[in-house]
Amino acid sequence: MAELSVQDLHLAYGDNPILKGVSMDLNRGEVVSLLGPSGSGKTTLLRAVAGLEAPNRGTISIGAKKVFDGAGAVDIPAEARNLGLVFQSYALWPHKTVSDNVAFGLKLRKVASGEIDSRVKKALSELSLGHLGARFPHQLSGGQQQRVAIARALVYNPPVILMDEPLSNLDAKLREEARAWLRTLILEMQLSALVVTHDQGEAMAMSDRILLLNNGVIEQQGTPQDMYNTPRTLFAADFMGSNNRLEGRIEEVRGGDAKLVGEGWTLWGRKAESARQGEKGTGMIRLERVRLAGGPGDNVLQPELATSMFLGDKWEHIFHLGNTTLRAHGPEALAKGRQWLEIPRADFWVF
């Protein structure tokens, strides 16, 4: 049974619709990411679940309990929803010590003070913060602050924990470590978590399922692999990875494949639902799927090399093909001039 269920949620600020009918479920022990560009409504959705935004219609249920129902005028205030919420800014109370920050939710739940102590200690030690209980938030590093914020949200065992860009306030390097650590923690503690992020890498690494939001609606949802490997829309494909993009006309459709013709090139790829023969189309392929070929062949282009960049573990090459820029990875530097590039049929989507 879903721990959290959102049905047909609409929300507008005045005349400006933010959510236009979003539905989703979060199952027990599952991590779901809300992914999308800024303005897509992902944070608004999270805040609506938390009770911090007032939707116009739709329903939100936590467990069996309806916490919001636009039709039935149910709107349980945030403080009664019993959710754990981790803020992007962490929102640690600077006037309380780490322990007091974590203990606050337990105090509000009238837990006996002895038990509060032991639960706070346990929560802090689980997050490797055991020795920092007496400190104030401003005495902690960013990573430590983030963990306190999580401890504070977890300590009273909410059925669902909501995280708003939990990693975005960390340095790039720390962010990668924290991502791994957070994923492990969520799994170990069997949390049900809804995580907002704008970083597709983070979403894929951390979640069981991704909900891709675009402009107030869910564009696509699925496992990270689904989302990455079989995007259903151009937006999903574009958002989920680093891509090459080729604009042309769909000249022929054969079974599940389509032929895209541009200025001086022709490529076959997998036809997306939206693609129609005779219309304009966009071809897309992940950067890492482009192959440097030794010579001409099926689905092979011959663009001009513009420059190469050394990334450490590999090279990235930039090519020009007419007005189109193509990028590809390779193990070594390339010589100036025209190069052969293979665009594998199975990895090239035509939208």
């Binding site: 009770g51 403080e79 929803r81 959710l83 803020f87 800014s89 309380k96 938030p137 009273y156």
Partner: protein, 572 residues
């Protein structure tokens, strides 16, 4: 490089030298305006007679006298009690009101806010008088309550009542500081508390208010020493009962010995300063602490209002109750009294209706001049005052030298001196300092005293505007070669213009309401409503007191209305 720019530093150097003298002049004048009268008070307190009389001698007799006077100790105790009580009442209530108005979705709150601020802009003389005629033993409301319910279970002539009234009417002072602190507080910390399960009230008490603790402490100290300087309220409500506080004790000394006992008054004033000045210093420290605190507050994102749900009714009732008690009751009392010739038990208001009070004001050149002067000192005087404060502000802006620190402390000094005695000291200055004597019977004397007395208040307004100018903007100016003076004129000043206009409006309202500073400076030509009210009240010309008080309220109201207009514009 040198060849390319033959004398690039020539112009800046000249400007710098000019600025230097301009700056020293500003500092010098400020120091003279603050320390001159103060040293006169200290000197006077060490004499045995008015300093201008021949038969004086130096010594501590004045202190010996007041310390031996049981009334002094009673007054001091009452001052402590009242000041403490005021803190206990005003700080929590002011904080809570600020929370409600600043952080929640209470309906009509923009409409309610001006009413919360009204008590701070109405002269305490006016308010106290309003309470007498509205809620006194035979006040309008008391009589109505007795007619309706048979009882009116309140009294206004006791230490407790005075404390409550003083506490309530000082709520705006706390409110102002608390709400500006809350404005800067990110809403995420509150939302975090809500999702952790806290009700709006709990959010306020456990998160928002503790987070603005430095501001609350600051205003607590402010209220405490304002409690020591309380004058109008105990004069009207306490004096008839013989309940003295330090300032009314001081005032009483004017005549206790039959002839003026300036040395005793000065000694009392020094005792008050001895209490208030350390408090002012504490305040300053707290302010520095508050700035540190501000850097670690939650990230200020978009402000989101806390939905109150059913709490809205409680909040609404709280605010309406507050506004009713502190604004509606006294002001309606005055308004009524201004239009009747008599009042009290058994008087039918319909039979005593009159416009005589206003007619008398109108027929009396002194009162008309008082009204004109009051308007002038607020508008023209207020603008000049803000200009002076701005000059002082620039003299210390982004300079971390000894002079800046000196000015920082200097501007705090007048705050610690009770307005009553500051006014007296200025009278002496204008009487005995020859260059100023021709100006004594002009409104200039009043203006100078007002400007010095409110220096600390005004400098806070100015420096908060100056602080909002990001240093990079000024540094960018310097990097392209502008001198300090030029930067001040062409970058900083335009940037703080709206802040200055706001300060002007606040200074206008403060000057409209000021009363104690003018008591001794009142002379033909310097009449202002505030001081006239004290004098007329002492003289018992109650009809005129009521009419002038109402006119004063209207003036303040106009200022407030304009301020709100501007406020709205500034917010857009």
């Amino acid at each position: 490089m040198a060849a390319l720019a033959p004398s690039p530093d020539h112009a800046p150097q000249g400007a710098l030298a000019g600025l230097f003298s301009w700056r020293s002049l500003t500092i010098l004048l400020t120091a003279a305006a603050v320390l001159g009268p103060l040293s006169l008070i200290i000197y006077q307190s060490l004499l045995s007679a008015p300093f201008f009389e021949a038969n004086k001698s130096v010594g501590v007799d004045a202190y010996r006298f007041i310390f031996a006077d049981s009334d002094f100790w009673k007054a001091a105790l009452n001052s402590v009690l009242i000041a403490t009580g005021m803190v206990v009442i005003a700080v929590p209530l002011g904080g809570l009101l600020a929370f409600i108005m600043e952080r929640t979705n209470l309906p009509f709150k923009r409409w309610l806010e001006p009413f919360i601020l009204v008590p701070s802009f109405v002269s305490p003389m006016v308010l106290s008088f309003g309470y007498v005629v509205a809620a006194g033993p035979v006040g309008f409301y008391t009589v109505w309550a007795q007619d309706l319910f048979g009882v009116a279970p309140w009294g206004i002539y006791s230490i407790l009542a005075m404390t409550i009234i003083a506490g309530l009417t000082h709520v705006p002072n706390v409110y102002i500081y608390a709400s500006s602190a809350l404005k800067n507080l990110g809403s995420d910390v509150e939302e975090a508390a809500r999702s952790a399960g806290a009700s709006p009230f709990r959010v306020a008490v456990s998160v928002s208010l503790p987070l603005i603790m430095p501001s609350l402490l600051f205003s607590a100290v402010l209220i405490f020493f304002l409690g020591f300087e309380l004058f109008g309220l105990p004069l009207v409500l306490g004096d008839p009962e013989g309940i003295l506080v330090l300032s009314t004790y001081l005032y009483k000394l004017t005549n206790k010995l039959g002839t003026p006992s300036y040395h005793l008054m000065a000694a009392v004033a020094i005792c008050i300063v001895a209490i208030t000045f350390p408090l002012v210093l504490i305040q300053r420290r707290l302010l520095v602490g508050a700035r540190k605190y501000a850097t670690i507050k939650g990230k200020a994102g978009r402000m989101r209002e806390l939905p109150l749900g059913p709490w809205a009714w409680i909040a609404f009732a709280l605010i309406l109750g507050f506004v009713f008690v502190t604004v509606v009751v006294p002001l309606s009392g005055i308004a009524l009294r201004a239009f009747v010739s008599s009042w009290g038990f058994g008087v039918k208001l319909s039979e005593v209706w009159t416009l005589d009070g206003f007619r008398e004001v109108w027929n009396e050149p002194t009162h008309k001049r008082a009204i004109l002067n009051t308007v002038l000192i607020g508008t023209v005087g207020g603008a000049l005052t803000v200009a002076c404060y701005t000059a002082i502000g620039f003299a210390t802006h982004r300079r971390n030298d000894g002079w800046s620190r000196f000015i920082d402390y200097l501007v705090l000094v007048p705050r610690a001196v009770p307005g009553l005695l500051a006014g007296l000291a200025f009278l002496w200055v204008f009487l005995f300092f020859p260059p100023l004597t021709p100006l004594r019977t002009t409104i200039f004397s009043m203006w100078l005293a007002y400007s010095v007395v409110w220096l600390a208040y005004g400098m806070r307004l100015i420096s908060s505007s100056l602080m909002q100018v990001s240093p990079e903007l000024e540094e960018a100016g310097r990097s392209v070669g502008a001198s300090r003076g030029l930067i001040s004129r062409s970058i900083t000043l335009p940037l703080i213009r709206s802040g200055l206009i706001g300060s002007w409006l606040l200074v206008f309202m403060i000057f409209e309401r000021e009363y104690s500073t003018g008591v001794y400076l009142l002379a033909p030509g310097t009449e202002v409503i505030g001081a006239e009210l004290v004098s007329l009240w002492q003289g018992g010309a109650i009809d005129i007191v009521a009419a002038l008080a109402l006119i004063n309220i209207v003036l303040v109201g106009i200022g407030l209305a304009i301020a709100l207009r501007f406020g709205v514009k500034l917010r857009d």
